[in-house]
Amino acid sequence: MSDLMKVSSNPHIRSKATTGSIMGAVVLSLLPATFFGVYNFGLHALLLILVTVASAVLTEYIYELLMKKRVTVYDLSATVTGLLLALNLPPGAPLWIGVVGSVFAILVVKMLFGGLGQNFMNPALGARCFLLISFTSIMTNFDCDAYTGATPLTALKAGETVNVMDMIVGHTGGTIGETSMVALVMGACLLILLDIIDLRIPGSYIVSFVIFLVLFGGRGFDSAYLSAQLAGGGLMLGAFFMATDYVTRPITKKGQYVFGIFLGIMTGIFRLFAPGAEGVSYAIILGNLLVPLIEKVTLPKAFGKGGEKA
């Protein structure tokens, strides 16, 4: 036996979860919504998803090669970004939209700010908002082979009646991944079971959103209206998969409640009082910007200084 052993500071054991395994679990939990999107919208949606994910991963890979940095695509975070972005695109969007969005998400929002963990904004959402502003007509055109006309949320805002059951299952127009509440909630349950996320953010987000609607929606406690609002648009996708993005949500427990409530109120304001029908993306991005402040004011008290209760 050699007398020089491996040494390191304590602790000497590590848990099994890695960044890659966590990101892998997120991809897995997005698959129900992905499959439903492809089933609902057809082959072009599948192509768009593949192109978007591939360009996200490639952008990160090439950037790291050029910058002579350690290649980190194996941690699957670029895959998650690409997939989330794809699920946020209209099914009929041209493939180059996916490429442009991915390059923006990875290059501008993520890598230029220092790569994984350093971005202050959810890359997929940052890219979505960039696309919405730059290519408004493409990004708001939800016509495709399967569906034409307004999305349920737009119809709802215009005062028309919508089929709530179709919205819950997902047989409606919208972005590729947002339409099926059932598929999204299945994925969310998986994330919760695997201990990747907890209900602090999605719970406070959805509850405060509902309360906001009841108070200011002008329809009181109208369950059909509320269900349509919950199932419509990007709320489920946003609440469970994007507001919970580790990097861009507060790390303090109290801060996560504050963050969720803020998102609920902002989404309510955007949906009720802004010209557009949707508001999840902008609400989350605004919330992202507030994270440093939220963390600062919700700094937990240390054990023995009054902060010992859970």
């Binding site: 036996m1 052993m5 500071s9 054991i13 590590r14 890695t18 395994s21 790390i251 303090t252």
Partner: protein, 438 residues
């Protein structure tokens, strides 16, 4: 009733099955015995023997170097070979007395001993100080200092730390199973010092056999009770233990006595019992020799000063080449450069692992997942503190309660990016503590 515990903590693989079912075995040293002068927190001990002196088992070879210090005793009979700096478990070179064992084990006469009931409190604490007893759970804080709080009448609980929450360690477990009476007897000694105090034997609930054995012993003792704690690391950390058993929370700048508590580890309590009732100084301790590299893992009753090589030999040597050897548990122990170091008063275990999990992973960037925050028993933000420490942002480190970290290692264990959070925070804390002293 909710299970007694604290918030945070982790459930690592506990590895206790390797060694828990074999009885403790007393072993005799073969080679030289090495006694570092610093085996405790506080001033180093001062040698009172010289090269060439003959010493007997139980003879004092170094006296306390101050109030916060502890004397050291020879654990064999033999000749003082040399007094020189030698490598110890922490990797430091420390002045050591080396004794050549003559194999005769001639003992000093420990003298007559009075009944516990006849002794004064001062006499009891004096005996504990003279016996060189320090916290044997790992910290090595001189026990007589702990037992001399400013206001002894305010002590309400004496807590025996029988949690043994470190993975792989089973020495306290074997002690509780094989000699529970010594723990109860030691607890009675400590309770003599504090008139108002009640004794609590705090055991994690993964040791139901120990809980039962202890409960049987104290069923006629109104002042001592056994409490079962939820099994979770670091349940045996002093502050978490006090919180779980009494609901009182202290921060890093407070002492257990501030919450009316005194906490002592199992082995320490047994040593106290022996010192007060038999006049015997601290000479032995139980060491768990374990890990998947060891042929026959088990607990040994070891004479302090015995070389670690001999412990491995007694455990049947290595069945597989170890990649990493840790003195202590996997969460808070010291990784060793080599085995040529002596057993000290605080050596709780020798853990030999065939695989070093730390070296297997390359640390990646923090993804802010918050797992470290979830598990932190100190309720601080480890990822932020490590970041501040890495960038030398001392003010922020202090403002975010960096000094409240107890260095338990939960954050590094749980981190999916495999960042050495504990290490970063530890170095910054060390720096800050050193600054305070100036």
């Amino acid at each position: 009733m909710a299970r007694l515990t604290f918030t945070g903590g982790i459930h690592p693989y506990d590895g206790k099955d390797l060694s828990k079912d074999k009885p403790m075995k007393a072993i005799l040293p073969k080679g030289d015995l090495v006694y570092p002068m610093s085996q405790h927190i506080g001033a180093p001990a001062v040698p009172v023997v010289a090269k060439g002196d003959r010493v007997l088992t139980g003879q004092k070879i170094a006296e306390a170097g101050g109030f916060v210090s502890a004397p050291i005793y020879a654990t064999v009979s033999g000749t003082v070979k040399v007094i020189e700096p030698r490598r110890v478990v922490t990797g430091d070179m420390v002045n050591c007395i080396v004794v050549e064992n003559d194999g005769l084990y001639e003992e000093v006469d420990y003298g007559p001993c009075r009944q516990l009931e006849e002794m004064t409190k001062e006499e009891i604490v004096g005996k504990i100080r003279e016996a060189g007893i320090v916290g044997m759970g790992g910290a090595g804080f001189p026990t007589h200092v702990k037992l001399s709080p400013k206001e002894p009448e305010k002590i309400e609980y004496v807590i025996a730390n029988c949690a043994e929450c470190e993975p792989y360690l089973t020495s306290d477990y074997r002690r509780m199973l094989e000699e529970p009476e010594k723990i109860v007897a030691g607890m009675k000694v400590i309770l003599r010092l504090f008139d108002r105090a009640k004794g609590i034997l705090a055991v994690e609930d993964n040791k139901p056999d120990c809980i039962e054995a202890l409960k049987k012993l104290v069923k006629d003792e109104p002042d001592i009770q056994v409490k079962a704690l939820q099994t979770k690391y670091p349940q045996g950390a002093e502050r978490q233990l006090i919180y779980a058993t009494t609901g009182r929370a202290i921060n890093s700048s407070m002492l257990p006595a501030d919450a009316g508590c005194i906490v002592d580890n199992v082995d320490t309590i047994v040593a106290i019992n022996q010192a007060v009732r038999e006049n015997k100084p601290l000479m032995h301790r139980i060491v768990t020799v374990t890990g998947d590299a060891v042929a026959d893992p088990r607990n040994f009753i070891v004479r302090i000063g015995t070389n670690y090589h001999e412990l491995i030999e007694e455990a049947g040597g290595f069945k597989t080449e170890p990649e990493k050897i840790v003195s202590g548990g996997p969460m808070m122990g010291f990784a060793l450069f080599g085995l040529d170091v002596p057993t000290t008063k605080t050596s709780s275990a020798l853990l030999c692992m065939t695989r070093d999990e730390v070296a297997r992973y390359t640390p990646g960037p923090c993804i802010n997942c918050g797992r470290c925050v979830e598990v932190c028993p100190g309720r601080v933000l480890p990822s932020k503190l490590a970041d501040f420490a890495e960038h030398g942002e001392e003010e922020k480190f202090l403002a975010y309660h960096g000094m409240e970290c107890c260095e338990c290692g939960c954050c590094s264990y749980i981190c999916p990016a495999k960042r050495p959070l504990t290490q970063e925070i530890k170095s910054m804390r060390k720096m800050q503590l050193a600054k305070k002293k100036k």
